[in-house]
């Protein structure tokens, strides 16, 4: 109904709500990164999905469905009075692609957190953002005891183009996480300028 869209005159300024996605495999440090830069303790909601189960007991056409919950964690950074930035961690499991679609819609960009001990766990994220045209950077999260790889080695393994920044990060460290986000937004701006002039 048209009336539902009519403007209200709130007393406080309403900011733009924008988002950045933090993706990566399970245990890559997504929630850690979100927590370290968020101004609030990360909030969590869940999405329900119903899936048909293919159990061993064939009930002959009786639909057996199970409901699974997908946790969605997010943090918030207030950028002045006009903008609030939300940081969304992607659900770790690959089968929750439907959530990724919505997260990607309208996102400023994405950070793919890579864990070099299990680099393959972030392949899906790279594929997804490339396919969707969401600008992203790769942040290699440092883990105790993991071998140090150069950015070039990681870039080569992930097969990401030269223009996509690959940076080292420590998701536990606020300053480092902040720099990752700065790097992403700088990259997004640079890509836009290149696209406009080209």
């Amino acid at each position: 109904m048209a009336s539902a869209d009519s403007d209200t005159q709130p007393t406080e300024a309403i900011p733009h709500a924008v988002k950045i996605i933090v993706a990566g495999g399970f245990g890559a440090g997504k929630t850690t990164l979100v927590s370290s830069v968020s101004e609030i303790a990360p909030l969590s909601t869940e999405e329900l999905m119903t899936e048909a189960s293919y159990g061993v007991d064939d009930l002959g056409g009786v639909e057996e469905k199970t409901t699974t919950t997908v946790a969605l964690d997010f943090g918030r950074i207030t950028i002045g009075t006009d903008i609030v930035l939300y940081l969304f961690g992607t659900p770790g499991q690959d089968r929750f692609w439907f959530m990724w679609e919505e997260l990607a819609a309208g996102a400023l960009g994405a950070v793919v957190l890579a864990d070099t001990r299990r680099l393959d766990t972030c392949f899906h994220a790279v594929d997804f953002f490339e396919r969707k045209g969401v600008p992203f950077i790769v942040a290699v999260n440092r883990f105790e005891g993991s071998t140090e790889y150069s950015a070039e080695e990681v870039r080569e393994a992930l097969d990401v183009p030269e223009g996509v920044p690959v940076v080292a990060a420590d998701a536990r460290d606020r300053k480092s996480s902040k720099e990752v986000l700065v790097e992403l937004v700088t990259h997004v701006l640079r890509s836009r300028q290149a696209a406009m002039s080209g």
């Binding site: 406080e12 309403i14 924008v18 909030l43 909601t45 309208g106 937004v185 701006l189």
Partner: protein, 143 residues
Amino acid sequence: MNAERQRPQDEAATELTRRAPVDLPPPEGEEERFLRPFAVDAGVLAPRPGGPVEQLEMLSRVVAARTPGRNEWLRPERETILTHAQRAGTVVELAAELGLPLGQVRAIAAEMLAEGSLQRCGPTRSLGHSDILHAVLVGLRSL
């Protein structure tokens, strides 16, 4: 359908469980979270004569257009949403604050928008995508 003979009483038992009164003390944990939403959005997603219900993004911002009414106790989720949305907030934050699944809050909020209990609110100051990116960059640098 040879399955008929395989389920003599099981289905009847399931049926009975579903019809049990809902005013039992809510169980803590998974069971409640799994069952409750189906009761909460019953009918909400049914086709409406006025056309499809508005789609709300997770970052769509809504604000209450009225205070909870006397009959709101019949639909406690709506009452809670009205109370929480006295200040404009995003759908996803509303879901997190209420401890309800995003999909349910989205569905109920869409219905409430359609009936006029909630209103959408857009940003006070209109900004272009580039302006937003530049502002975010400056804001992040100064963290």
